[in-house]
């Protein structure tokens, strides 16, 4: 187990290094720079600003100095937003994204698994056909469309929820639904398909013939087995949900990380781009790491396979 964790950890550090390097050079390759704000700024002024921020140095030197800065734990300050450090931006934006993400995840997992299991039990009945219909709709509707529709009907027409902003719990309901819809239908479909497959396995018939109650069979045997692939999906999905969907944040005016990431790229705010990319990728790597360990714990077959090898 320790060797396994150690190996994973090394590979994580390596991936992170590649992310930092690639992002840095790709970012510098985008034309324009954070100081080119307006067309009327005299050249001598942009030039002197370029020198002040160190953009005139060779790119490798800039890279190593950034790497050094990053290793010493300093993400730097925004070049566009006055007096705002990258750490501060993360500290302010991440809790918002985290709250929305966790809410959406809770909705997606609970409703997804519930609906999936229900459809699997009612396999090939009208409930299952309804499920397929809802699934196709949900998977093909982009989140911006859902968000716009929800906003239009529930807040503009029915006046049930606030239109936008991030304030009370009520403000988070519509964004949570828009963010959760896609993962929900995906998880539901995954659960249903896995369970339908499980239901045809010989051990089910065997268990039934031994007189196990259908309820017990469903919950402690079939569902548990069908959930394994979902753990693998939930990991990366949780990252994309938590780090924020830019579109949903934009429509509901939510001050999360997605908004910052996009606006920093558009304004070429180098330290913010780097800081956020590193933060999000570290988060992703950590989640994948945890998922791997969870697999190891949940699925006894993995351990056996190791021993067999």
């Amino acid at each position: 187990m320790i060797a396994f964790v150690f190996k994973k950890f090394i590979s994580m550090a390596l991936s992170l290094f590649f992310v930092v390097t690639l992002t840095f050079f790709f970012m510098k390759a985008i034309p324009g720079n954070p100081l080119l704000k307006d067309m009327s700024i005299p050249k001598e002024i942009t030039d002197s600003l370029m020198v002040q921020y160190g953009f005139k140095k060779p790119i490798t030197e800039q890279y190593f100095s950034y790497l050094w800065q990053f290793l010493s734990g300093d993400f730097g300050k925004s070049l566009v937003h006055e007096g705002r450090s990258v750490k501060y931006i993360i500290k302010e934006g991440f809790p918002v994204s985290l709250l929305l993400g966790i809410q959406s995840l809770a909705v997606a997992i609970s409703i997804g698994i519930g609906a999936g299991a229900f459809a699997a039990v009612k396999n090939k009945k009208w409930q299952d056909h309804c499920f397929t219909l809802v699934y196709s709709l949900g998977i093909s509707m982009p989140s911006f469309l859902i968000a716009t529709l929800l906003q239009y009907f529930f807040s503009m027409k029915l006046n049930l929820f606030p239109t936008a902003n991030f304030d009370t719990f009520n403000h988070t309901i519509l964004p949570t639904i828009s963010l959760a819809l896609l993962p929900t239908v995906f998880i539901a479909k995954l659960t249903r398909d896995n369970m339908v497959e499980m239901l045809q396995k010989p051990f089910v018939k065997f268990a039934l013939s031994k007189g196990i109650s259908p309820r017990r069979l469903l919950f402690s045997h079939i569902l548990r087995n069908s959930l394994l692939p979902i753990v693998g999906y939930v990991g990366p999905m949780s990252v994309s949900v938590i780090t924020g969907s830019f579109v949903v944040e934009k429509i509901f005016g939510i001050p999360g990380l997605g908004t910052w990431l996009i606006s920093s790229i558009l304004s070429r705010d180098y330290p913010v781009i780097m800081g956020l990319t590193i933060f999000i990728s570290t988060f992703l790597l950590l989640v994948i790491f945890i998922v791997d360990i969870m697999y190891y714990i949940i699925d006894p077959r993995l351990k056996l396979k190791k021993e067999y090898d």
């Binding site: 034309p31 067309m39 009327s40 050249k43 006055e82 239109t163 936008a164 009520n170 908004t259």
Partner: protein, 512 residues
């Protein structure tokens, strides 16, 4: 099941948002988070309107849009119109300390410090030695800005400058409190000189401004609190406005959604204000084929300005053939058709129509994209030339035209100050900051310089008009329409002021 349904209904009811309005609090939609609230670092539209809530200049605009005294009480101008002596009124910063002439001297000189990252120091370049100091050629002490005592400030200009006072009503010239190191931290410890102070700022979310208890003109300020709601999406802002959660959107603070322009056009509360500015094309006159004046004329005259005025601006932005907004700006002087110009040009260049490979550069705003399509169609129908369209994001776009990497592109100017010389100044010097085509003309420069020294306002405007004629005759630019700004305001909110350059002022606003 029925129970569940009941619970759901109750839940929905409990979610009902109830908006109770107090009559001294306004909510405004803002689309971009201000990048700074330090006026010395301000640059164009971005955060400048918010700064106008927080700071007062030596001058300001009154309710009738006339320039009047702000923090200055009176100004004495010397005979030769070069020395300005301001007497400041007894006013206080929001922390209670007095606003002095030294605050102004320090702030202005900081902007001109060569190490200070200011974007608009050239707004001070009419002051003696200002430019040299910014370039590091002379020390800051040599700059002719001097506080004679606590309430007297003296400034010496290089040349008479008719718009100098008007400029003092805008951002870069606002003073900050003497201790300038605190802009690096959170803004709650700042002192402000304007009608409002910053109370709370949740980034990318909202800003709350409160009435400044120490503002010198506080009797006039009726609004106790302004909530600036920062939301990126124009559609969401419009939705918030329509569900009465915002009192004001639009203009420089938050562009109205372009897709909704037809629907908005029928709305009675839509307010359109013309601004001192123009949307026009610039030709790269150093590159084939626009090195030829007749080709330029052909492309300029082929533009269907009437259709753009109708379809893009809904008749709000006036079609024009001139750079400076005026009454007869659409009158045409050409005697040839676009095609005739093109024929002459092609003959002079010795090439065929098929050899004209033209790319039109524009940025990715919705209106701009539609204009590009109209232009492409005009040029194909009128001249038989298929122009390639190249859309770019803002930073790429700026990079391309700063490096002269274009043949033809669209540009839009709005001036801070309502004076024709501002638009003409773009082309004053070959290597001037905004002269992207690097156009140079001695007569043009002489006319502008003569206008600088001219004391008689009418004669000065005449000189400027001649200079403009010269520029248009050379056809370096092809003006299309004059800029305008549109806003939506709660009908109960009255006395909101709009300046010429599109700024919105709430200091006199109140609810009916």
């Amino acid at each position: 099941m029925r129970k569940l349904f009941l619970i759901f209904c109750l839940f929905l009811l409990s979610c009902q948002s109830n908006s109770n309005k107090s009559s001294t609090r306004i909510k405004i939609g803002v689309s971009k988070e201000p990048t700074t609230i330090d006026p010395r670092k301000s640059f164009a539209n971005d955060s400048s309107n918010v700064m106008m809530f927080l700071y007062d200049g030596l001058m300001r605009f009154n309710k009738e849009k006339k320039l009047c005294y702000g923090l200055a009480q009176k100004v004495d101008i010397s005979e030769d119109k070069k020395i300005y002596t301001f007497t400041l009124r007894e006013a206080k910063w929001s922390d209670g300390s007095p606003i002095t002439a030294f605050d102004f001297e320090n702030s202005w000189k900081t902007v001109l410090n060569k190490d200070f990252p200011s974007v608009y120091p050239h707004k001070f370049y009419m002051i003696e030695n200002a430019k040299k100091a910014k370039l590091g050629k002379v020390s800051l002490d040599k700059v002719a800005i001097q506080a004679l005592d606590n309430r007297t400030l003296q400034v010496k200009l290089n040349n008479p400058c008719p718009y100098f006072l008007e400029q003092l009503a805008y951002n870069v010239t606002f003073a900050v409190h003497k201790d300038d190191s605190y802009f690096e931290i959170e803004p709650d410890k700042l002192a402000f000189s304007g009608p409002f102070i910053l109370e709370d700022w949740r980034h990318n979310n909202y800003m709350i401004l409160k009435k400044n208890p120490h503002y010198w003109d506080k009797e006039e300020v009726k609004i106790e609190e302004i909530m600036l709601n920062i939301i990126d999406s124009p559609i969401t802002l419009l939705n918030l406005f329509e569900s009465d959660e915002l009192d004001f959107i639009g203009g420089i603070l938050s562009p109205l959604p372009y897709v909704a322009r037809q629907a908005l056009n029928e709305s009675e509360i839509l307010k359109t204000t013309p601004s001192t500015g123009t949307v026009f094309l610039e030709f790269n006159h150093e590159k084939f084929p626009f090195s030829n004046i007749n080709i330029r004329r052909a492309f300029s005259s082929a533009i269907d300005r009437v259709s753009i005025e109708k379809n893009i601006c809904n008749y709000h932005g006036k079609k024009t053939r001139r750079l400076v907004p005026s009454k007869d700006s659409f009158s045409s002087i050409t005697d040839k058709t676009p095609n005739e110009y093109l024929e002459i040009g092609l003959k002079e260049l010795g090439c065929k129509r098929e050899d004209l490979k033209v790319t039109y550069l524009f940025n990715d705003e919705e209106a701009t994209v539609e204009i590009a399509q109209i232009l492409q169609q005009n040029w194909r129908e009128e001249l038989g030339v298929l122009v390639k369209l190249k859309k770019q994001t803002w930073r790429n776009y700026i990079k391309n035209f700063t490096e002269k990497n274009y043949q033809l592109f669209k540009i839009s100017w709005v001036c801070d100050v309502n004076d024709p010389v501002f638009l003409l100044n773009i082309y004053r010097l070959k290597f001037g900051r905004s002269n992207k085509p690097r156009w140079e003309n001695k007569d043009f420069l002489t006319l502008l310089e003569r206008s600088d020294r001219e004391f008689d306002e009418n004669k000065r405007l005449l000189l400027l008009k001649r200079a403009e004629d010269l520029l248009l005759d050379e056809c370096i630019i092809a003006p299309i329409y004059h800029n305008y700004s549109q806003t939506l305001c709660n009908p109960n909110l009255i006395n909101v002021q709009y300046t010429q350059s599109g700024y919105i002022d709430f200091r006199w606003a109140s609810f009916k």
